[in-house]
């Protein structure tokens, strides 16, 4: 039986740390746009998770699209996993808060599911392409492959 007390301060400490890092990034970034997210790969991972969830919902709701939607869900799910792994590698999450961002509510299937998938993939490819040009070398190949994977999925949908 462990006697370690719960650590309610850990969350706020983490938030504080992240906000400090974000401020540091703003100061170093040549283009003073809106404050960038702490890790650009975290945004790509979140987008991949959302795409995968939408594609899964479409696969169950639209039998005619099941095959391609499942392919999108599988590939985007793998994108989410590799991106999140790299995010966590560089900035390990606290063991207590390791639960990935939980957006468990199943997404609503849009009226034109195929167009919605395509639009999502186009946006994801563009976003990953921008990130791939700017990240350090050890991330560039992975992010470039994510962009290429999205472009390939557009061909799967076509």
């Amino acid at each position: 039986m462990s006697t370690t007390p719960p650590t309610p301060v850990s969350v706020s400490r983490r938030v504080l740390l992240l906000s400090t890092l974000a401020t540091g990034l703003v100061a170093c970034t040549p283009t003073p746009a809106s404050p960038p997210p702490p890790d650009p790969l975290a945004a790509l991972a979140a987008r991949a998770r959302a795409d995968a969830a939408l594609a899964s919902a479409i696969a169950s709701a639209t039998p005619a699209l099941a095959g391609v939607a499942e392919e999108v869900a599988k590939v985007r799910g793998e994108h989410a996993a590799v991106l999140q792994k790299e995010v966590d590698r560089e900035r390990p999450p606290k063991p207590s808060s390791s639960a990935a961002p939980t957006t468990t509510a199943a997404p609503t299937v849009p009226s034109n599911p195929k167009a919605a998938l395509a639009e999502g993939l186009k946006g994801a490819s563009d976003e990953a392409s921008e990130v791939a040009v700017a990240v350090p070398r050890h991330r560039a190949g992975m992010v470039g492959s994510v962009a290429a994977g999205c472009v390939s999925l557009l061909e799967v949908l076509a």
Partner: protein, 158 residues
């Protein structure tokens, strides 16, 4: 993806040795792809003419862009080999399709490697454009050839 998005200036700073080697290797893959498209045209019926022309044109354009990049950086682009040895003999439509898919896969691998060996945004962009367009063509050919999966999750990942 078909627009010549990579205008290369007449001269640029020399490329570091590792970048140079990776870009020359990618150029080698482009030379091989141009050769492959020439070879397979003899084994594929006329219905493939358009796809073959598109692929051959894209690889020639990429080869030329890469040659200009190397020239601008003061390097000599490696020339094409007189011929290439396919991993398997090409004897019919199926083996021809397999070889085209192979060639496209090889170029995605070479360009992803180049992305990881440069910090220069112009080289990254050229590599990323080539990686994405090869990945898209690879998926189109896989569809045509009935190969599954239609795309790897991370095209270019060795």
């Amino acid at each position: 993806m078909t627009q010549p998005s990579s205008a290369v200036p007449p001269s640029r700073a020399p490329l570091p040795e590792d970048t140079l080697a990776a870009v020359q290797a990618a150029l080698g893959a482009e030379h091989a792809a141009v050769w492959v498209y020439g070879l397979v045209s003899a084994f594929l019926p006329a219905t493939f003419d358009k796809a073959i022309a598109e692929g051959a044109t894209a690889h020639r354009a990429c080869r030329d862009t890469t040659g200009r990049l190397l020239g601008a950086a003061g390097a000599t682009p490696e020339p094409a080999e007189p011929a290439y040895l396919p991993p398997k003999p090409v004897t019919d439509q199926a083996s021809a399709l397999e070889l085209v898919v192979n060639a496209e896969t090889d170029t995605t691998t070479a360009w992803r490697a180049a992305m990881e060996r440069t910090d220069a945004p112009d080289v990254r962009r050229i590599a990323l454009d080539a990686l994405k367009s090869s990945a898209a063509r690879s998926t189109r050919w896989r569809k045509t050839a009935g190969l599954t999966p239609l795309t790897p999750p991370l095209p270019g990942q060795p």
